[in-house]
Symmetry: C2
Subunit: 504 residues, 2 copies
């Protein structure tokens, strides 16, 4: 959320006729650039059932070429600026293709001419501008958007990046009396009928073009494309020392986590709160009723199964929170020596998409049946007793209300026994839930952390389980800390800008 | 979430034929109880336009009688247990009708007989049970639900309220070999074909009946019904000392906040962090990139318009967070002496519902157009410099993906100038946004806090503004703290159980 991370739908029409920018058709690639749609990459799932009654899912991700056009030669040297993403071998070609600085910089955009009409200001770009004649010839900017985003000091506070004016502060019917290209094409002056004057730089306007290409740059700043995976996944490994001491390593760690939903941190100090060193670089720890961090180890009278040596099924943490904790740091201080205490990890997005394509009825039940998750009890946090009663009603698979994309999965033994659906739907729903869980198991990877390693997981996406171990025989001691995606994404963007790295 | 606070849809069929429990038709009220639907209260908006070009909205909330049947006489004494909700006068009759302990206790439920068939266990309730012959005669419980929720110590850990078994731990096809009513009707034993034996108490089963009545009790534990309001709203006032010293006062405060989206706290100490005294009773403060609390006062080089003396339009805080802060504590330490510095408050849910009913096209644009909110800059929190770059893409009005209910509203001068929609939609969308803002203004109440008062606001629902003041002439000093709804709702439930108070 996680939950609304991918609110990226577009209302734009897919036809060239309605597109905001006209093309000079130079190549098939540029012609494709105006193709717009709700999904920019398609994933095909192929199911093959073997006679041993196991199911395999092969994922074949097809990326539309319009989004990732080959960068022009003059930017090739920037491709060499690669960040320290320790990429799983199966998707290396994909990631490396995306680690380049944008080929479509607006920094040299020049305005050739501008005109008004039909509620829009039309800007014609000079052929010498950065788009180099390979992109659009002209773009339109609707009047209300221009007026609302006036950058003058009366209307806009550049220090806080905030619009000073509200919608009540300007006339809805204000129209440009005149537009002027100034300073040789690097700015545009709009004189409004009301007398107000707005000036926009060509760079600013070019970056905000109402077309697919400009918006894809912004979208990638919002959220990177997720790479879904199955049981052949090889987890990405990142060194603790590098993450906490080097910005590029930190960005690589955050990028892998965002794209794949899980990373492994190696060589961490074997002491509680070590995860804070990373969390505080990325933001700050998220507090829950368990505190800012808590040990996962066997104890008597445990208020959670986590604090026993029992098996834990495939689950995400705290599904009974509306604002579910986004990122889990599971730090292995001491691993159990005998057999057991292993972690199973599965990509909930992958399994959800598989169900969507191959079991649409079950998928529908899991996305449209609200169920309760709950947790009730008493915790002692730093000497303070806290009673809690968390309750949340949510489907197992949560879709974004606009795009239909899966944005959160919930699965836990803390599902409530209260089930608020019609009884004739109960048995079909259980079948669907069982299918979801079976597929999770089939698509899971198993890993046993070494003492000093950390699993870092996207808790809106990843489901993790633990095999039982014998707590009477030996110790197993994990420290756990949470971090919100809002903070982690913020830090990723700050680092991207600072290091000048474009990601998708 | 508030974004997903109201995920309460039901998939049940509205027909009596498909209902899980058969009725003995005793009265029209009980007959209505099986009527199910997605919305349990209907709100009608009447618009009257006067010649002075102002628009008024009269809200007439009609509550369906099925949900709130008149409690039977034997519970009348419990009606006297009223909590300290300082209710706005216009809705006193509503609230007082709802402050009673549930008339439909399951504590005396007795099973007369039980049988198996058609994938369900059918339980016939004794006429002497708490439902007193006025409710259902029998109920059905589907097999997988019963098996999944076995309460034996192998399957369920009562200490942590957690299911020990996962779905893989029992056979999908396990069916009851035999059911036995035991101990004179207070429990039911199910012997499964696999040999496993489950025992359920009659109370436990009665509470979890698959019908409308039982689920409405659970729903109210999840979330109370929202009471929407317009410009004739009278804000509820709660004394600081009472809230922090008395559980019933704290529950009353939390209940008012949940139902109305805003309350006023009086007689608070005029010092920073005073809000922590309430926040820590309800949970713990929510940290943002501004820290755990921060002063709102004029300063040079402000990183936010809040820290100037400028007007602020109707907004919610931090809309650029995916997990938007749920509750704002705005504590007036020193109010500005001259004119200005007043707060406008409007119910975003009310205005959204008004648009849904009277301006469906504009409502659709506002619920289906994703826009960016952002905030970028540097803060100094406790000597530590933090760079941040928050970005979130969300419609102005956010609907729950299943129920279509409004669960979050976003409005802010921090709306990004990047707008990721087709240009021909820009002008209509601006018209819709303007209508939303104009209606907010028309339906707002204005209040000037006294020094020592606090506004507490539901930030997923309420929009608030501030009139400008002259910071060169005098001081205005507010302290601000956030709290998550997950914590506040948890505390409300803990207090409800502790005090034995039923709320809707």
């Amino acid at each position: 959320m996680g939950l609304r991370l991918l609110s990226l739908s577009t209302l734009a029409s897919p036809s060239v006729k309605n597109a905001s920018c006209r093309l000079r058709i130079v190549s098939p690639v540029s012609a494709l650039m105006v193709t717009e749609g709700r999904r920019e990459s398609k994933t095909h799932h192929h199911l093959s059932t073997t006679t041993t009654n196991t199911t395999t899912i092969n994922t074949n991700t097809t990326t539309t070429t319009t989004i990732n056009p080959t960068p022009p030669p003059r930017h090739h040297q920037l491709l060499q600026k690669s960040i320290a993403v320790n990429t799983p071998s199966i998707i290396t070609p994909y990631l490396s293709r995306h680690l380049y600085t944008s080929a479509y910089s607006s920094s040299n955009a020049v305005i050739e001419s501008a005109s008004v009409g039909n509620g829009e200001v039309r800007v014609v770009w000079g052929r010498s501008s950065a788009c180099g004649g390979e992109e659009e010839e002209w773009c339109v900017y609707p009047y209300p958007w221009l007026r609302d985003n006036c950058q003058c000091t009366q209307c806009y506070d550049a220090k806080s990046y905030t619009r000073i004016i509200t919608l009540e502060d300007w006339h809805h019917d204000d129209t440009p009396h005149q537009v002027k290209v100034c300073e040789g094409g690097v700015c545009l002056e709009v004189v409004w009928s009301s007398g107000h004057i707005s000036t926009f730089t060509s760079t600013w306007l070019h970056q905000r073009r109402f077309n697919h290409q400009a918006r894809s740059v912004k979208k990638s700043m919002l959220a990177l494309k997720k790479e879904i995976w199955g049981r052949d996944f090889q987890i990405s490994r990142h060194s603790f020392d590098e993450i906490v001491s080097d910005d590029e390593a930190l960005l690589g760690f955050l990028t892998s986590l965002e794209k794949f939903g899980v990373v492994l941190v190696t060589k961490a100090p074997r002491k509680p709160k070590a995860a804070f060193d990373i969390v505080n670089k990325a933001g700050f720890p998220k507090r829950t009723h368990y505190g800012l961090h808590y040990p996962i180890r066997r104890k008597l009278g445990a208020e959670s199964l986590a604090f026993t040596d029992l098996k834990l099924g495939m689950h995400n943490d705290l599904p009974y929170y509306n604002y579910v904790c986004g990122i889990i740091f599971l730090h292995c201080i001491t691993q159990f020596e005998g057999s057991g205490g292993e972690n199973d990890l599965a990509d909930g997005y992958h399994v959800s998409e598989y169900l969507r394509h191959h079991h649409p009825h079950q998928y529908h039940l899991l996305t449209h049946t609200p169920v309760y998750f709950w947790n009730k009890g008493v915790t002692e946090v730093e000497g303070e007793t806290q009673e809690f009663y968390k309750l949340f009603n949510t489907p197992i698979i949560v879709e974004d209300s606009m795009t239909g994309e899966v944005v959160r999965v919930n699965n836990s033994q803390l599902r409530d026994s209260y089930l608020d659906i019609s009884p004739e739907l109960v048995t079909p729903w259980y079948s669907a839930l069982r299918l979801f869980n079976t597929t999770l198991q089939q698509q899971a990877i198993r890993i046993k952390l070494n003492s000093g390693e950390m699993l870092v997981m996207d808790n809106t996406r990843l489901l993790h389980g633990r095999t039982a171990y014998d707590g009477a025989v030996g110790e197993r001691y994990m420290d756990q800390v949470y971090l919100d995606w809002d903070q982690a994404l913020s830090k990723r963007r700050v680092l991207q800008e600072k290091l000048g790295i474009h990601l998708e």
